[in-house]
Amino acid sequence: MLSFFAGRAVRYHLGGSETPVAAITGGYNLHPVDVFKAVLDALNRDYVDKITDQKKLTYGAVDNMVGSLNDPYSRFLTPQQRKFLDEAEAGRFHGLGAVLLLKPAVHNGMKHFRLVVVATVPGGPARAAGIKPGDIITRIDDGYFLQLPTESDQDLPDRDSLQGLIPLPGRGDAVPRLIEYKEAMQILSRDGAKVKLTLLRAGSPKPVETEVTLGPVTVQPVESRMLSDTIGYVHVNGLMKGCGEELHKALVGLRDKGARSLVIDLRDSIGGSLDEMVASAGQFTRGTLGYVQRRGARRQALVASGEPVFTGRVVVLMNGATVGASELLASALESRLLARSVGDTTFGDGRDQTVFPLADGSAIELTTGKLLTASGKEFNGTGLAPDVRVTAPDQQLAKAVAMLNSPA
């Protein structure tokens, strides 16, 4: 998930149980290190221009090594990207204000990734420009987006394989300017700049063109209000830092105003840290909320242990832009509170990432596990289906309220 300028914050060192760097003292396999060292030595000794910037070499090495995993969720972060990621975790989103994903696809036998909008944040540039979850970004200014797998045996594309994917000019070898995701991310993270985007949208016969003024936006994790004398409403925008605490305050406020039942709106909820997921669910329930499955069949339980503040009836709203830890929150509320859910199937991002910092502020982010619901169910790629499917966005809330108004 390419979220540094955008949406979902990523979990660092989950639950304090990770000791990501200090623990790495495994024995050297001398053979490959030896090869790397020999190449580096030859380069420093022989390259036609003396190499003064060793850090550039390091970045190149680490970036390509992580890139070779071809996992859209695993990547190298420059110090600036890491800073943006940290800020996103705290609710400040740079650039587009959207959660993007590289989605694998095949066209004319050519494996590639498409750049998909998963969710947009409220008040952000993407939403202001009418960009919608599910949109595919095909063009950024004059560059056509094309991300090929890193380090594969696949040949680079010729005209035949590009045909139909990218508008090609007349004859010959000429191909329009192509940009890969690294350059795309650079362009899309320049706050204040204007960019033109071309989007493919389901149901729209023609590509949609739009201009976005990039810029930072600060998103509050929780918004709340009363829907009637007895029904309260909270919207969790994302599991940003402080979400649990904000939710606590909101629920106390709603309770004081007389809320006896509650709509918990997790639509367009972009996920975030599992710590905040546990803190948020803990406002309603205690016990096991789900699991993180790690390498080697290790399973780590996510357990809420505090004092719940709201124990009334609850209906959960969800949609295709309910992402990551927000999906797990939805499933936890369903299973522990026996809450009913309304809306559409969630996005299906059930992977857990960890950020491993490097000394200069850069970092690598890796997929280090997958999320399982309290009943041990996996939802990565499939999403979680609602109890009551209501796909029209403007009817979902009404349906939730109707359910709360009817006898249990």
């Binding site: 050297y28 053979h31 036609v48 390091t58 390509n64 090594m65 680079l156 070898d173 200069d360 997929t367």
Partner: protein, 439 residues
């Protein structure tokens, strides 16, 4: 840049000549092997105390932008982190061993320099490059090409195992020894087909007009693809095409010139179109055949010291005749050295289009540990007049473009222009004789 450069090579060099592609080599293997061994010993001492140091600094002070990230230490820590913690598509980690990840790290490190000619050769790629440079290898004798994601036989070389087995141009190779080729690069496919002389390879072939693929088992033999094609055109004009600068290039050219002299050669067209280059030593030898004296090329080392490669008089064993050199934008590196020397010394006329523009020399450093090698840009070079052709290429004396229509109708306008010049129908005979005859 990566896409553009390789698009060109894919569309033009679908024939597996990757080894020669834009690689101008000066072999300094002995020296580099020695140095690499010395650095092995340094390595053992250098990395022993590393993990604790690096880790503790990272934990205590994770955001110091001035902190250095030593390449070996950082690469290794990330490698270990990936192998220990990466979940992978099915919870089983990367599915890649340390060596594969290391090769990826090395390629990324080299790419960060922004020099497309500095690159890493995995053991099999290095072996293939050596074969290309030697001009012989164990194989079946079929030129392959890839189009529409299919690997097919472009040409079957006469007298080779592929010819004996009845392969024909157009046959689609679906699998090699049962390994399907779909999604695989042509280089990888070539690797699978080549092998030790005498061993067998099973190809699954789909032939036009047949419903079902069939399997054919072929015994590999020593393949020496022709790198020189010579024919005598009317008027005593010899047309000699040199396709690469491997270790046989100058010898084969010598034979072809002898052959053409027997057929009363009056003038010569040296065709270097689509010749991607090869070995520096061969470039100097070939240029020496046409240039009377002085430097053939000037090589500049790191630090600026320059060294001239002088004409080798021993190569003047053929009678000088008026000369035209044909070039195009796929004439690169060694081809440009030869064309540049001939142009600067007035030994012949350059006809065609601007050349590739690679004024850089690479050196191969073999890595003894695993049989891989690294190709590093180590020198710049200049033509005898001191011209830097990097990114610029060599401008032809007489520019002749081939149009799309020419290509379709196989109308070789450039060759016809060369013939016209040498037969005196262009520019008048005396001028050409004066300019084109070796001095």
């Amino acid at each position: 840049m990566r896409i553009e450069a390789l698009l060109k090579s894919v569309s033009r060099y679908a024939i597996p000549v990757v080894g020669a592609l834009l690689a101008l080599l000066s072999f300094t293997a002995g020296l580099n092997t020695r140095q690499a061994q010395r650095s092995d010993r340094v390595l053992l001492a250098a990395i022993a105390p590393l993990p604790d140091n690096v880790s503790s600094r990272t934990i205590s002070d994770p955001d110091d932008p001035t902190a250095s990230l030593p390449p070996v230490e950082t690469y290794h820590r990330v490698l270990t982190t990936i192998q220990d913690s990466y979940y992978g598509p099915s919870g089983l980690g990367t599915g890649m061993d340390d060596t594969k990840l290391t090769y990826c790290a090395i390629r990324g490190m080299l790419a960060s320099l922004g020099d497309k000619y500095t690159r890493f050769l995995e053991p099999d790629e290095y072996r293939r490059m050596q074969e290309e440079n030697q001009g012989e290898f164990g194989g079946i004798g079929a030129r392959l090409e890839k189009a529409k994601n299919k690997v097919f036989v472009k040409e079957v070389l006469k007298g080779t195992p592929a010819a004996h087995a009845g392969l024909v141009a157009g046959d689609v190779i679906q699998a090699v020894d049962g390994v399907p080729l779909s999604g695989m690069s042509i280089y990888k496919a070539v690797d699978l087909i080549r092998g030790e002389t005498g061993t067998r390879v099973k190809l699954t072939i789909l032939r036009r007009g047949q419903q079902k693929p069939f399997v054919v088992s072929i015994r590999r033999a020593l393949i020496e693809p022709d790198i020189v094609q010579a024919e005598m055109l009317p008027g005593g004009i010899a047309h000699i095409r040199l396709t690469t600068f491997n270790q046989r290039a100058d010898t084969e050219l010598d034979h072809a010139l002898t052959n053409m002299e027997r057929k009363k050669m009056q003038a010569l067209i040296l065709d270097l179109r689509d010749n991607p280059g090869g070995l520096l030593s061969e470039a100097v030898a070939v240029a020496s055949r046409f240039v009377k004296g002085g430097p053939v090329v000037i090589i500049q080392e790191r630090g600026g010291a320059r060294k001239e490669y002088a004409v080798q008089p021993s190569k003047h064993n053929h009678k000088p005749v008026p000369l035209v050199v044909l070039v195009n934008k796929w004439s690169a590196s060694a081809s440009e050295i030869v064309a540049g020397a001939i142009k600067d010394t007035g030994a012949g006329l350059i006809v065609g289009t601007e050349t590739w523009g690679k004024g850089l020399v690479q050196t191969i450093t073999p890595i003894p540990t695993d049989g891989s090698a690294v190709l590093i840009t180590t020198h710049r070079y200049y033509t005898p007049n001191g011209t830097d052709i990097n990114h610029r290429g060599i401008q032809p004396d007489v520019r002749v473009e081939l149009t799309d229509k020419d290509l379709e109708t196989q109308n070789d306008r450039q060759l016809r222009e060369a013939v016209a010049i040498l037969s005196g129908r262009k520019f008048g005979t005396p001028a050409v004789q004066a300019k084109a005859a070796p001095k």
